[in-house]
Symmetry: C2
Subunit: 170 residues, 2 copies
């Protein structure tokens, strides 16, 4: 199954954003990455915000799908694995963690898409804490720890560090 042009654009944009953030890439960069021209990219995504929001939505959807396919009790460990892969394989930041941190200066749809990553995943993590007093906060605590661990490991360029920082999540 071949990737559509739109998907290749999305993939290129994800890589670009995950290395330097929303303002670090241009349509021309994406054009070079995909073999298109500036206008060719605009044909699929009229505005930069459209593209970035779509990238964040697709990224979130992948995580959501993986959690929905995992029994509640195993979801924390599953999410840790997903984040771990992200750091280890790509040596890159979490896309939505990066966008969230920049969200003060982002177009609204992009900031909202980044927010969606946390709210959507939190909902899927809550069933993992059936006995907790406040399972929502508990879920967000997991996400905060994972995001922080990715951030520190990424900054220090130490892929193994992520595992040590999140050892408490079994």
């Amino acid at each position: 199954m071949k990737l559509t042009t739109a998907d290749r654009i999305i993939a290129a944009a994800e890589t670009r954003i995950r290395t330097g953030g929303y303002n670090s890439f241009s349509f021309r960069d994406i054009a070079k990455d995909t073999g298109l021209t500036n206008a060719g990219v605009h044909h699929y995504f009229p505005a930069k915000a459209d593209l970035a929001a779509r990238v964040a939505q697709d990224y979130t959807a992948r995580f959501v799908a993986a959690l929905d396919d995992t029994p509640p009790k195993a979801r924390v460990a599953k999410l840790r694995d997903l984040f771990s892969e992200s750091v280890r394989q790509d040596g890159r930041m979490c896309l939505c963690g990066l966008l969230a941190s920049e969200s003060g200066g982002l177009p609204d749809p992009v900031a909202e898409a980044a927010r969606g990553f946390f709210t959507e995943l939190a909902v899927r993590l809550e069933p993992a804490f059936p006995d907790a007093e406040d399972s929502h906060t508990e879920a967000l605590r997991i996400l905060a720890l994972l995001e922080g661990a990715v951030l520190v490991a990424f900054s220090l360029s130490d892929a193994q560090l992520f595992g040590r920082l999140t050892a408490s999540l079994t």
Copy 2:
């Protein structure tokens, strides 16, 4: 005590970076903020990387000084307070957390300055864990949790959330 022009530039740049990241502000923005011109800002900081690196160094120095003034056992709580203030008062991200997440696309001196935030603070947190097997990792774990909590609270625009996410640090 009046602020020097250089310090006003640094303060303006810190605010700008903390809302949208390194690539979201320009010399012209800083000029407007300080009442100077584009070239006036360049007079103090020849290149953008110089300015951003200096902002990160000053930011780090403030945290370092506060921890050095605090007895080892109270440092984790102190750092939590500092981060909490950062979120509550300003409603902004941690400067070095943001820069660290963008560091894949940043000039080297800036990325290194952001890294310095973690390494410097980790060293000061280690004495808080005299019995730990690996006090360095323990210190980085604290930093990861704090950064993640700031990130999530910032993204969801919920200042109180930070307190709940970091309740385990007493």
